[in-house]
């Protein structure tokens, strides 16, 4: 893996910008001259994983692109909380068009600057999981297969949060959402539904695909910087907890995100041209129940009358990820 994970045992934290680190190990975010691409004053909820992920990702992208960056944004929380007219939290060239066309907008921007002989201008498209895995998948796949010079970043909070927590194709099984209520014989979201867009991206044999998490911010920055240095279609899928939609404590966003990684439910890996090249190994996998019990969307799994098979089935998913991606240390 790119970055050395450093845990400060004095404080029990992974603080990525700690000044005890060497300069090169410190995060972009710890640099006071960072671009502040998504600056303060926006309307995101407390503990928003998406705002955190976007700020780290785009500051890293700005650094890697030498400030020559343009961003296309799908409709969704990130767009709504950052640009209530006449205000904007974006200190970069930024555009929102529609829900399903963020990738195609970015293709157009990249084409425009290519036609103008400006290959130094780099383009990022971004969206939430709804805008990426569902309504935007057609444009995303088109951008991938043409190998357009675009880095697409998906901030995956596993449901349509902006419209009030409805199920998306990134919603995990058993999760309660507004359209998969925790009632009936199989409460919450169906098992066996959903898709992995990182794997779909890899099937396009594009130069670079990675997953990242707001639990590992230095790793997230590294992957973004690496992706910006590559030309052609690139994809980074970032796991971003949503306290509102998941029913987790705002203060637990990083903790929840870290547990998703440490259980094996959200594997961190990199892939080049369709082959996994790096993965973050898990020394001792944490049981999935530790992750699930912090989130009220899974509360029904811990009720007195709950089917014990549900947690076991989720554990199986984590175990299979560990096996498929070779995550065992």
């Amino acid at each position: 893996m790119p970055a050395q994970f450093v845990k400060f045992y004095q404080t029990g934290t992974f603080t990525a910008g700690n000044r005890l680190l060497t300069i090169e190990d410190r995060s972009v975010q710890s640099n006071p001259t960072r671009s502040n691409a998504l600056t303060s004053g926006h309307r995101a909820c407390r503990g928003c994983g998406e705002a955190l992920g976007a700020r780290y990702a785009l500051d890293a992208a700005m650094k890697a692109a030498g400030g020559k960056l343009i961003v296309s944004n799908a409709t969704g929380c990130l767009e709504v909380f950052s640009t209530p007219f006449p205000e904007t939290s974006w200190r970069i060239a930024w555009m929102h068009s529609l829900f399903g066309n963020s990738a195609a907008i970015a293709t157009g921007i990249a084409a425009a600057y290519k036609a103008k002989g400006r290959p130094d201008i780099r383009v990022v498209a971004q969206g939430g999981d709804g805008g990426t895995t569902d309504i935007g998948l057609g444009c995303l796949s088109g951008m991938f297969e043409r190998n357009d010079d675009v880095l697409y970043i998906c901030y995956d909070n596993e449901a349509y949060m902006n419209t009030g927590v409805q199920r998306s194709s990134a919603t995990p099984p058993a999760a309660r959402t507004a359209t998969t209520p925790a009632i009936g014989e199989h409460p919450g979201h169906e098992f066996g539904h959903g898709k992995s867009v990182p794997l779909i991206a890899m099937a396009h044999r594009i130069p670079y695909v990675a997953t990242a998490s707001v639990a590992e911010l230095r790793d997230l920055e590294f992957k973004v910087e690496k992706a910006i240095a590559i030309h052609g279609a690139r994809y980074i899928h970032i796991h971003v907890p949503c306290p509102l939609g998941w029913g987790s404590e705002p203060a637990d966003t990083i903790r929840v995100a870290r547990l998703a990684v440490e259980t094996g439910l959200f594997p961190l890996f990199e892939a080049e041209f369709g082959t996994v090249t790096e993965r973050m190994r898990i020394r001792r996998a944490t049981p999935v129940a530790e992750y699930l019990k912090l989130q009220r969307r899974f509360a029904h799994l811990f009720a007195a009358n709950a089917d014990p098979g549900s947690i076991a089935a989720i554990q199986k998913i984590a175990d299979r990820n560990i096996q498929d991606f070779g995550l065992s240390a």
């Binding site: 960056l69 767009e79 709504v80 209530p84 904007t88 195609a104 907008i105 157009g108 921007i109 425009a112």
Partner: protein
């Protein structure tokens, strides 16, 4: 120099002369030959500094054009029919953002039932999207309008649809004078966007606008399009000066001045209508034509001026608003509000049904034309069908029947 050429090829070559920087292509009949032509021109290296992008849908085609235009590039695409509907969300987005994209519509019917032939249902579906819509009458004008369209779009910061009748124009071979690069360059300067996505001057485009400002944004769009009427008229004049032939303008007339009956048309059917007018005028009939080139924004004053002296007006509609009539007639009625001129909606040519001289002669020979009528409707087939469905046979297929069903009239609802 005149060249015998398929109109689609002439459009492709003319668009190339406009030096688009991004062209997005997705096939749909009957516009496909246009983007095929551009693909060849770009691939052959005849059009420099142009990215030709084969996209995966019409939704993506216009989205790529929106991104390119926002980044300051001259962007072009073409579509038709179902394709235009599939990109509808982006159509409104492009005009809302004021991006001067030019898009050719190879006008075609909309399904179901699926039909690939010409009528105007597709572009009519987008008539209130805030785009400028220009209708080509001839092959020559289909080509020329694109030069004018880029100039109008960039001067007004509005996207422009150039509507070209599918097959009738797109697939016909006609002598077309494709202008020289020098002439086009003289008329169409390089695109200088009013604002664009540029990292050295970062701006936010496409923010969320709430109730406190949305009305004003929409009003300004309305105001911009009304003011575009003058720009379109002026630039059409400049085009004529530069190229020595008529192109565009808001409306055109043919013997309409002082004519008792004036037929109102959009697009290529005007040629047939003019032939019939010539024949009938030779026999002493007082008939003229009003051809609307600029359908959006609708040139109310120009239409009113031409039609003010007519004794009756027949609007030839290549689209149908079911249970209403036709969209062009509604606009013409508004233009003539207060006048007592009888205005008839003549729905004709849906799904590519030929509008023949014979049918037009029959229509014009009628003393009275109903408020809503359908040209060349196979009434026997319809009666048989209604009978099979046990519907009470209508005594009339026209306005009386419609009115009977629509009491109270829709305007009072």
């Amino acid at each position: 120099m005149l060249k015998q050429v398929e109109t689609s090829r002439a459009v492709a070559e003319t668009v190339a002369l406009c030096r688009p920087e991004v062209v997005c292509a997705y096939p749909i009949t009957p516009q496909t030959h246009i983007v095929e032509g551009l693909a060849e021109i770009v691939k052959a290296g005849k059009l420099k500094n142009c990215e030709f992008i084969n996209v995966e849908s019409e939704f993506a085609a216009l989205s790529v054009a929106v991104g390119a235009s926002a980044a300051g590039a001259r962007a072009y695409t073409a579509t038709a029919s179902q394709g235009l509907l599939f990109m509808a969300e982006v159509v409104y987005n492009a005009s809302g953002l004021g991006l001067p994209i030019v898009m050719t519509i190879g006008n075609r019917a909309i399904g179901a039932p699926i039909n690939i032939w010409n009528d105007h249902s597709d572009s009519m579906s987008m008539r209130d999207s805030g785009w400028i819509q220009l209708h080509a009458e001839t092959a020559q004008e289909a080509a020329d309008l694109h030069i004018l369209a880029f100039r109008i779009a960039e001067q007004t910061s509005s996207p422009v649809m150039v509507c070209v009748d599918g097959f009738v124009l797109t697939h016909s071979y006609e002598p077309v004078d494709i202008p020289t690069q020098t002439d086009v360059d003289a008329f169409l300067p390089p695109f200088e966007p009013q604002q664009m996505l540029d990292p050295s001057e970062p701006i936010t485009i496409g923010a969320m606008v709430g109730p406190e400002a949305f009305m004003e944004v929409r009003y300004l769009q309305h105001d911009k399009l009304i003011r575009a009427l003058e720009v379109i008229a002026d630039l059409s004049g400049s085009f004529e000066e530069q190229f020595g032939r008529e192109c565009g303008s808001l409306v055109r007339q043919y013997h309409a001045s002082g004519a008792e009956t004036v037929i109102v048309t959009l697009g290529s059917v005007s040629g047939t209508v003019k032939d019939v007018i010539d024949e009938l005028r030779d026999k002493g009939a007082s008939i003229g034509l009003l051809n609307i080139c600029c359908y959006r924004p609708f040139p109310f004053s120009a239409v009113q001026r031409v039609l003010s002296s007519a004794r009756r007006v027949l609007v030839l509609e290549k689209s149908l608003a079911p249970a209403i009539g036709g969209p062009v007639s509604s606009d013409v009625r508004l233009a003539l509000a207060g006048a007592r001129t009888p205005i008839s909606t003549v729905v004709a040519g849906l799904g590519g049904r030929p509008i023949t001289k014979a049918s037009l002669r029959d229509l014009l020979a009628r003393e009275e034309v109903e408020e809503l009528t359908f040209l060349d409707l196979d009434r026997q087939a319809i009666e048989a069908h209604l009978k099979r469905q046990n519907h009470r046979p209508c005594t009339s297929f026209v306005s009386a029947a419609v009115r009977e069903e629509m009491n109270p009239c829709p305007h009072s609802l």
